[in-house]
Symmetry: C2
């Protein structure tokens, strides 16, 4: 049978410490060349709507040690509205029932069969959180116990779950431009993590004195700047532009997620994509060369050097996601779902065939 799982199933079955552990193992496999990852691709075209584009995004990965391959697919209607001073990328709930479209298909490397199909949303934030958690595990000071976070959305929650899984965090300060969201987020996360989370009025209030600064927004513009850096800080970002390039350059150690730094973009002729999708402007502004920076798998395997002293400033940039992460966390999810008989069994014959394709 092929297991159909929902976001609720994924949410019930996955824990952040387990996601971090399976990804750590998977990154070792990747660094050793025993796992493979295919760079994300984005096919973009116009839609009937003037202000929106259609985007078909896919990314694949295979981990023989875990016995799985995965493909993650997003079929999105995308807009780039101005929010306050920043431009943001926002997906529209255009599918029936006001829903988004993101799917993961998990396959067996032994039989090729589709083991499971599930939406990508909950796993998406868990794997982003877990990757930044691993960045903090290998780069932040051992004694780090305070966190300042910029952002109070869906991703920010997983970032806090992850940092609390790798360090004994005793206090968190949170800033986001919408004070209501920020307050509600602080309260919910305090309860979930059993750590006091305080909403504050400015980014500086969140950052000042924090051992670990986490950026977790969907902005396309920098939100953390060089003059906010303090000795010993660990900086963490879930996407390329959040930490200003000059701030990145000030760090003593910078590690990125992957050298698959730019997605494969395939767009129709004359299509204008508001996003600075390749990030080259941002990099060159700070004189950064991402190709020369070490990656998280290098760091985990000990090929890249971690923090050398408590005074050093470290920085982890989760510059691009990998389908490979969905294979790793998917393997964990599948095992746990089978153990607890979660999900809905669909006939595997629906997704396999008699004829040689």
């Amino acid at each position: 049978m092929t297991l159909l799982l929902s976001n609720d199933d994924v949410s019930n079955l996955l824990t952040m410490p387990e996601c971090i552990a399976i990804l750590e193992e998977a990154y070792r496999e990747l660094a050793e060349g025993r796992g493979v990852s295919r760079t994300r691709s984005d096919c973009m075209t116009p839609t009937a709507r003037q202000d929106a584009l259609y985007s078909l995004k896919s990314m694949d990965g295979v981990i023989p040690k875990l016995g799985v391959g995965a493909i993650r697919i997003n079929s999105d209607i995308v807009t780039w509205p101005q929010r306050g001073n920043n431009i943001r990328r926002e997906k529209i709930r255009a599918a029936p029932g006001n829903r988004y479209v993101g799917l993961v298909l998990l396959f067996s490397t032994d039989t090729g069969e589709p083991l499971a199909i599930f939406p990508d949303g909950v796993m998406q934030r868990m794997r982003v959180g877990a990757a930044n958690g691993l960045g903090a595990k290998y780069l932040a000071r051992e004694a780090a116990n305070t966190v300042g976070i910029l952002g109070s959305g869906w991703q920010a929650g997983a970032q806090l779950m992850a940092v609390c899984a790798v360090r004994a965090i005793s206090s968190i300060r949170c800033f986001s431009p919408n004070a209501n969201n920020c307050g509600a987020f602080a309260q919910a996360m305090s309860e979930l993590l059993d750590v006091p989370v305080t909403a504050v009025a400015t980014p500086e209030d969140a950052i000042r004195g924090a051992d670990i600064v986490m950026c977790a927004t969907n902005t396309l513009d920098p939100i953390f700047f060089a003059h906010w850096i303090e000795p010993g800080m660990h900086l963490s970002s879930i996407k390329r532009p959040e930490i200003d390039a000059h701030a990145v350059k000030r760090a003593d150690r910078v590690v990125i997620h992957t050298h698959d730094a730019r997605p494969i973009h395939v767009v129709t002729k004359d299509l204008v994509v508001p996003e600075r999708a390749d990030g080259r402007g941002w990099e060159s502004a700070g004189g950064l060369d991402f190709d020369k920076l070490p990656t998280l798998p290098d760091l985990i395997l000990g090929r890249a050097r971690g923090r050398a002293s408590d005074q050093e400033v470290t920085c982890f940039i989760n510059n691009l996601g990998l389908g490979y992460q969905f294979a790793a966390v998917g393997a964990l999810l599948y095992r746990k779902a089978k153990e607890s008989c979660a999900g809905r069994d669909l006939p595997t014959d629906w997704f396999t065939e008699e004829v040689h394709p």
Copy 2:
């Protein structure tokens, strides 16, 4: 609802003339830059079996004019056995029930929603056939009425359906190394096409005097050679190495399917793939530069010149498949399935989500 279709549904709903017509329209869109196609990628790793590899293959395409995007996925256990003098690529029926794993997911560019899910096998041969049919439509002599075909398998049948859809074919000769298969194929195709198909004993018997020569095998070695060429012939191949490079060079007009000539290969360290996957050796042997050859979309749009006289030798090489083809034929399939209430309705909510992915 999301429509689940079987290979039987696909087979019942698609006709070759309609597949050729929709692909012709789609190729125009592609050539004009209004459709997009993402090059195939193959992730390959070892499996538990010594003689087999695991391959996770994917390819995407979007055609706004037809309102669809598609992704085609293959999750294969692959071997490369020696068959007679040739090495062949063969997939193993490793999934439960001795089945293969190939899937197409079709999405709406208006809402992003998954419109349909179906196995790729039947559509795979229809789109290969239709592409070579378009090659013959634009390159073969108008009066061409005899066909010689090398191969008697799954792909060969669609090749004959396609050539009969674009020219008034009155006789077909067929050769394949297995005389039993070849005889059964000839009989079945005679009945299906209402054109006499004769099994012959040697490749030369099939080719001599044929207006159109079609290669439709899964060999990785050349099977058609330069000294078999006759004036006015149209040569057609479903994969790169079938027509010897020296024979290709002898042709007056050569058109290939796509400049996406090489799949993106991502393999584990030290993995040996028996296939000469990038085909560079084959090209350079004949001094061919695929990047400079015109493509089928160029030919259809009139950007590349077709046959200039009845004496010219023309050649179409279907060098690599495109996910884009599955979007085009998928749009046709979906329309016809809705019209005839075919398939099984699955809740679209199974494949969409509430949370922002």
